[in-house]
């Protein structure tokens, strides 16, 4: 706290420049930008791995990578995308937007904010660098199930350490976010008048604080099983690998909502802006988000219908999972009702938001299919699951991140991005996304297992369609990078209120947002 205090007085108008600025910065906007760049870099790293996977799967048989490396690629692709791309992107948004949206001068603990960020690059290096150690990276799948994760080499230890570091970073970031939201709002901004993005992040931060320590515990037990002779998960000593699955998914299911609730928040800003209508059903959005978060703690068993739980357990997890469709349905209804009879225009952020609503819903429905225990027993570990979670994570989380980036780029850079290129990026992304992942539903229904480099010849055509789509999807993202760089370097000057229909405190400060904003709390009406 001392640091922010001094900062506000000493550094006013002159702050360190160059690398030093970013290394020592406690400014929420600098840290937000660093998180977003980190996320974008990891998105390309993880995307490259995905393309190697898709290249291998272009034909049956083994062509490019051996099965060991293939497993390592699927494992690290997932970990990089989840912990390196999606989560830091949302933290980046939180850093930039939450102080601006609640009218605070900075995050509550500015120095800790700096630590939270600078823990991420070493963790990413451990994760990606583990490809270079003898035996290659961890190949156990991102879920790190024993016995594979107990048998693996030093790379598994590197992965566990990376998960620990990223977990610590997430917990510190979450404490910062909760404190900022609860204690530093502008006078007059009651909880039920907070912007939706702030609400969703408040709930997400609580989820992170609740489940990240559980993950840390699970991977610590893996570590002691590996090196210190314990037998938590080691069947030879009376341990139980299934127990790891229970503990892991107790973390894992809230984790998937950690990756989607902030997305709901971003979409709840974009749609009202471009429909030029206030968000329909604000209060029900808050309650729906909270219900989803609470329900997320009692549905983990749907990830493990095939481990031989008693029928009563399977039924409980099946019904609890289906219950989540109700608050999620409320949200989708509200977004559509917001668009209803609105004066809609379709700038790039809105295109991403509309695509989010429709494609995320497809992912939601395939999730409901998988929630049915007997169906899941057939589809478990098939490409149907792969298709499902890419619909909710790519066309869900990542579409919202891209839409949010286009939406707030004028505020961040002071320039409007190239609308034409933005639309080209959107259409290429939306179309190639569906080419990549829609056929995977059919592959899964036909019985193609996931995480296997080879497949039976009858799966060839759909895999080839999927691989062609994947390369188009990957290359399209270079347009995104280009649009961002172009927007930073120049463009049409953005007004303080960059979008006609935009509402909220962040649009009352000039564009680009000055280094210091809201040093005295703004009036909130």
């Amino acid at each position: 706290m001392e640091a922010t205090h001094d900062h506000a007085h000493d550094d006013h108008g002159h702050h360190p420049t160059g690398l030093v600025r970013y290394f020592f910065t406690t400014n929420h906007k600098d840290i937000g930008s660093m998180y977003l760049w980190f996320s974008l870099i990891m998105f390309f790293v993880g995307g490259f791995m995905a393309l190697v996977i898709r290249a291998e799967l272009f034909q049956p048989g083994i062509q490019i990578v051996n099965p060991d490396v293939f497993n390592q690629l699927t494992t690290i692709h997932a970990l990089v995308m989840i912990f390196g791309a999606v989560m830091p992107a949302f933290v980046g948004f939180a850093n930039w937007q939450i102080p601006l949206m609640v009218g605070a001068s900075d995050m509550a603990f500015a120095r800790m904010n700096n630590w939270s960020f600078w823990l991420m690059p070493p963790a990413a290096l451990l994760l990606v660098g583990s490809f270079l150690v003898p035996g290659g990276a961890a190949g156990s799948g991102w879920t790190l199930y024993p016995p594979l994760s107990i048998q693996g080499g030093i790379s598994v230890d590197m992965t566990i350490l990376a998960v620990h570091i990223m977990g610590a970073s997430s917990i510190m970031g979450s404490i910062n976010i909760v404190t900022t939201i609860l204690n530093m709002r502008a006078p007059g901004m009651t909880l039920m008048r907070m912007p939706m993005f702030v609400w969703t992040w408040l709930i997400t931060a609580y989820l992170l604080i609740a489940v990240m320590p559980v993950l840390a515990g699970a991977v610590t037990m893996l570590l002691t099983d590996r090196h210190f002779g314990t037998h938590f998960f080691n069947a030879a000593g009376g341990g139980d690998p299934t127990m790891f699955m229970h503990i892991f998914w107790f973390f894992g299911h809230p984790e998937v909502y950690i990756m989607i609730l902030p997305a709901f928040g971003i979409i709840s800003h974009i749609i009202p802006t471009f429909a030029r209508k206030p968000l329909f059903g604000y209060a029900s959005m808050v309650y729906a988000t909270s219900s989803i978060a609470l329900l997320s703690f009692i549905v983990w068993g749907h990830h493990m219908f095939t481990v031989g739980m008693p029928a009563a357990g399977n039924l409980f997890f099946m019904y609890a999972t289906m219950l989540i469709a109700v608050p999620t349905g409320v949200k989708v209804f509200n977004w559509i009702a917001t668009m209803w009879k609105g004066s809609m225009t379709f700038e790039t952020p809105m295109l991403f938001a509309v695509a989010f609503v429709s494609l995320f819903t497809i992912g939601g429905f395939s999730g409901l299919v998988l929630a049915i225990t007997p169906v899941d027993i057939t589809l478990h570990n098939t490409y149907y699951v792969v298709a499902h979670f890419h619909y909710v994570l790519f066309s869900g989380a990542i579409f919202s991140i891209m839409g949010g980036a286009y939406y707030w780029l004028p505020k961040w850079t002071g320039h409007m991005y190239d609308e034409k290129l933005g639309k080209v990026h959107f259409w290429l992304t939306a179309i190639s996304f569906n080419i990549t992942f829609f056929p995977q539903h059919f592959l899964g229904l036909a019985g193609m297992p996931r995480r296997i480099p080879d497949y039976a010849p009858q799966f060839t055509e759909f895999n080839q369609i999927s691989s062609v789509g994947a390369f188009l999807l990957g290359l399209s993202q270079l347009i995104f990078l280009y649009v961002i760089i172009k927007c930073i370097r120049g463009g049409v000057k953005a007004e303080a209120k960059s979008w006609e229909g935009a509402e909220g405190l962040e649009w009352t400060v000039p564009s680009p947002a000055p280094y210091h904003t809201f040093e005295t709390p703004p009036a909130f009406h």
């Binding site: 979450s174 404190t179 320590p213 229970h246 008693p310």
Partner: protein
């Protein structure tokens, strides 16, 4: 004003850290909790011990029992079921044999862990004697046949006609040496 917000923030942060610590403890507490649940519901037996069978033999019914053997830790030895498939009447006492050949040049202490498919059959599969009850020590190059004496209880649900019993042998030499 400024200090009061800083103080409020510090108090809230402390509370949040406590929540995180409690959740960390909760994660570890899931381990004994999980074992209790599995014991209470009979999903798994943490101790592998000899059991008694009830006397009745149901000659009218025949159940197929398959025996599977697998190794863990890439042990360089052979472990196989000598009687791979047997037909038994529920209640009838049956003996099958497994053979282990230790091809390594060192002494190995092994522990076999049984697993049943379907899992519903597990409570009705009683082992009266089994090499899995104890750790087994094998001298370098030793070959040994080991018995399992078992009974399938007549209470076995009628829809189960086939039971697989799989043993996985784990090398516990390092752990056993520590004790």
């Amino acid at each position: 004003m400024e200090t009061s917000i800083a103080q409020k923030n510090a108090v809230l942060a402390k509370k949040l850290v406590i929540i995180a610590l409690i959740m960390g403890g909760f994660g570890l507490a899931l381990v004994p909790f999980y074992r209790q649940i599995c014991e209470a519901t009979g999903i798994s037996q943490s101790r592998i011990v000899a059991q008694k069978a009830s006397g009745e033999v149901d000659m009218a019914r025949t159940v197929t029992v398959e025996f599977v053997a697998s190794n863990s830790n890439w042990l360089n030895w052979s472990f196989e079921a000598l009687d791979k498939i047997v037909q038994v009447h529920p209640g009838q006492q049956t003996v099958v044999n497994y053979r282990v050949v230790n091809n390594t040049g060192r002494k190995i202490i092994g522990q076999a862990v049984p697993s049943y498919a379907p899992t519903e059959a597990a409570p009705f599969f009683k082992k009266l004697q089994c090499f899995c009850f104890d750790q087994q020590t094998f001298a370098p190059g030793e070959s040994r046949d080991m018995q399992v004496i078992f009974v399938v209880e007549p209470g076995l649900p009628a829809d189960i006609q086939r039971i697989s019993l799989s043993y996985t042998f784990f090398d516990v030499t390092a752990e056993a040496g520590n004790k």
